[in-house]
């Protein structure tokens, strides 16, 4: 381990030792209403960046996986134990990601982006069709005795998992292969990397996380309908936050998630009708002015000032 890694590990251990105690603070209700979205978007944005960061394959389908996860819980609640449903949601996410990956990731990145662009909308159509024709009602109730507190803890566990897996992947041959693929796919093929398989594996990991997050969040909705579960804004926000933070470091998305979620609380409360427009403007600002994300910006400033010592992998 390098010094940077030891430092990051210590920081992560301290953070995960303190964060679970937050719900026991006095008047933690409002705190939870901020902490849950932050934890949720941390898991979504970090797992998104696991795949899209090194490869530059922009996935716009987070909402599709999230919605599938939420619907697995909504459909099976009361019949199957909740814990099993969360696992099933992960399996469903993995299958969907594998299908999308196998169809598109053998080809150039554009096909993948296009496919993910409409995926949430298509799954939404299918779910709506099934509900209209076979179950009779549009929405589903998810009534459980799961409290905000438990959801928060579940999300923390997921966050710890996503960091652990991200760290392992980065150190493994798979992570190394992904970085080569991202730099030049032709080179990757020539040095003997099975690039399609590597991409599909990582996309499946990222799809599982998004589906499980959907399953974990489902009890918080209590009532689930297609337009809620498959909202395109979710996919968009995940991409924004990850890019804002920076995708070339494992903890980069976190730097984007915290300020953006807090800012979004304020914006959504003060301009509820203009959220879509403001999201778009925020996104354009990021793409044009901080394409490397905040982390990349800080690092290049530090390098210019002579403090940074090159770029290792952290």
């Amino acid at each position: 381990m390098t010094r940077r890694e030891i430092r990051n590990t210590i920081l992560a251990v301290i953070a995960f030792a303190i964060l679970p105690w937050l719900p026991f603070l006095k008047d933690s209700g409002y705190l939870m209403s901020l902490a849950i979205p932050i934890a949720m978007y941390t898991v979504l944005a970090t797992s998104w960046a696991l795949f899209s960061g090194p490869t530059h394959y922009i996935s716009l389908a987070t909402a599709a996986f999230y919605g599938v996860g939420a619907y697995v819980v909504a459909g099976g609640i009361g019949v199957v134990p909740y814990a099993v449903l969360v696992l099933l949601a992960g399996v469903a996410g993995a299958i969907l990601a594998a299908l999308v990956g196998l169809a598109t990731l053998r080809l150039s990145g554009v096909y993948f982006v296009i496919f993910t662009l409409g995926l949430a909308e298509m799954v939404r159509q299918l779910v709506t069709w099934v509900q209209n024709n076979f179950t009779g009602s549009r929405g589903l109730y998810v009534l459980t005795d799961i409290t905000e507190r438990i959801i928060y803890w579940e999300l923390l566990v997921l966050a710890a998992l996503v960091y652990l897996i991200g760290w392992i992947v980065n150190r493994s041959r798979l992570g190394f292969a992904m970085r080569i693929i991202g730099n030049d796919e032709l080179v990757a093929a020539h040095v003997g990397i099975h690039s399609a398989r590597a991409k599909v594996i990582l996309f499946v990991i990222s799809g599982i996380f998004a589906a499980v997050v959907g399953a974990v969040m489902a009890p918080r909705f209590t009532y689930i309908e297609p337009s809620l579960a498959f909202s395109p804004e979710l996919s968009f926000q995940v991409v924004i936050m990850a890019l804002l933070g920076g995708v070339h470091r494992l903890w980069g998305p976190l730097v984007g998630v915290i300020p953006f979620t807090l800012l979004w609380e304020v914006i959504a409360a003060s301009f509820p009708t203009q959220t879509v427009l403001l999201l778009g403007v925020a996104f354009l600002l990021i793409v044009y002015f901080i394409p490397q994300g905040v982390v990349g910006l800080i690092e290049s400033l530090m390098r210019r000032a002579g403090i940074g010592r090159g770029s290792g992998d952290g």
Partner: protein, 288 residues
């Protein structure tokens, strides 16, 4: 028979939209994910003209299309040119333009939500029966078919018979070589992008005469246009036309035989088939 006719009628409008996207992606090299929003904006223009001014939506073509041309020209010059300059290779430009136009699509949706609200909108124009082969079809669909086919034909002639058209095709084949042959590549790219946007907005006007739309439906049409372009092969006009007709038929078949709510699923099914069996396009050659 009815499915066949309706599918073909719909396919012509799709062909027009796909031609717009083909100009933007094939020539200007911008993968425009905000294409569907431009279409909805055109449709809103026609809707506004028809309900407020009592003017035929086809008269709206006369000023919505030039306005869309100007707007797209401006977008390319101010927002996309910097990306083209920044990009070191085609792959980087692709990633950047996807991100930028994806952001723009949300900006457009936001503006349209502000201006028109989130409701569905439709108007009744030429909703009279028109008999083909003994069965009645909406006259508005027939008129849209004729108009779309006419514009497609004009574009085809323009691209193949004029000097500018030849320059555009040269840029589509190889921008670097086109530059060496004395073609002003940035100017042609801008022109192609603006023309593509204008054609798309025109397609939106035609769709709005027989479809119900709302501010956030653009992404569905972006998808359809992208699927057609990929199915036909990027830059292949003939392929795009045939692909549009196939998509129109497939959608109509699914809508009338299973459920009208599943049209996008039908488009996806075609997309998957194309990706699995002919990713190089219907008439494309397998890269050696």
């Amino acid at each position: 028979m009815e499915i066949l006719t309706i599918g073909l009628l719909l396919g012509a409008t799709y062909a027009l939209i796909a031609m717009g996207l083909n100009l933007q992606y094939g020539v200007a090299r911008i993968m425009n994910l905000a294409n569907g929003e431009m279409l909805v904006a055109g449709a809103f223009g026609a809707f506004w003209v028809f309900t407020a001014q009592k003017v035929s939506p086809y008269v709206a073509l006369l000023f919505v299309v030039p306005a869309a041309f100007g707007l797209n020209w401006l977008i390319y010059r101010t927002l996309l040119r910097p990306l083209v300059r920044r990009a070191k290779n085609r792959g980087m430009l692709e990633v950047d333009s996807i991100l930028a136009t994806f952001g723009m699509s949300f900006v457009f949706v936001g503006i349209m939500l502000m201006a028109f609200g989130g409701d569905y909108f439709s108007y009744s124009y030429l909703a009279e029966p028109f008999v083909i082969f003994g069965s009645p079809y909406g006259l508005n669909k027939v008129v849209a078919f004729v108009a779309a086919a006419a514009i497609c034909g004009l574009l085809y002639l323009g691209l193949n018979k004029t000097r500018t058209g030849m320059a555009i095709r040269a840029v589509a084949v190889d921008p670097a070589a086109a530059g060496l042959a004395g073609i002003d590549v940035p100017k042609m790219s801008t022109f192609a992008f603006a023309l593509g946007g204008a054609v798309t907005a025109g397609g939106g006007i035609m769709l709005s005469t027989f479809l119900t739309l709302d501010a956030s439906i653009g992404v569905v049409f972006t998808m359809k246009a992208l699927i057609i372009v990929i199915m036909g092969g990027v830059g292949d006009v003939r392929g795009a036309i045939i692909a549009s007709l196939i998509l129109g038929l497939a959608e109509t078949a699914v809508a009338s035989l299973i459920d009208p709510g599943l049209t996008l699923a039908a488009a996806y099914l075609l997309f998957v088939l194309v990706l699995l069996f002919r990713p190089q396009g219907l008439f494309g050659r397998r890269p050696s």
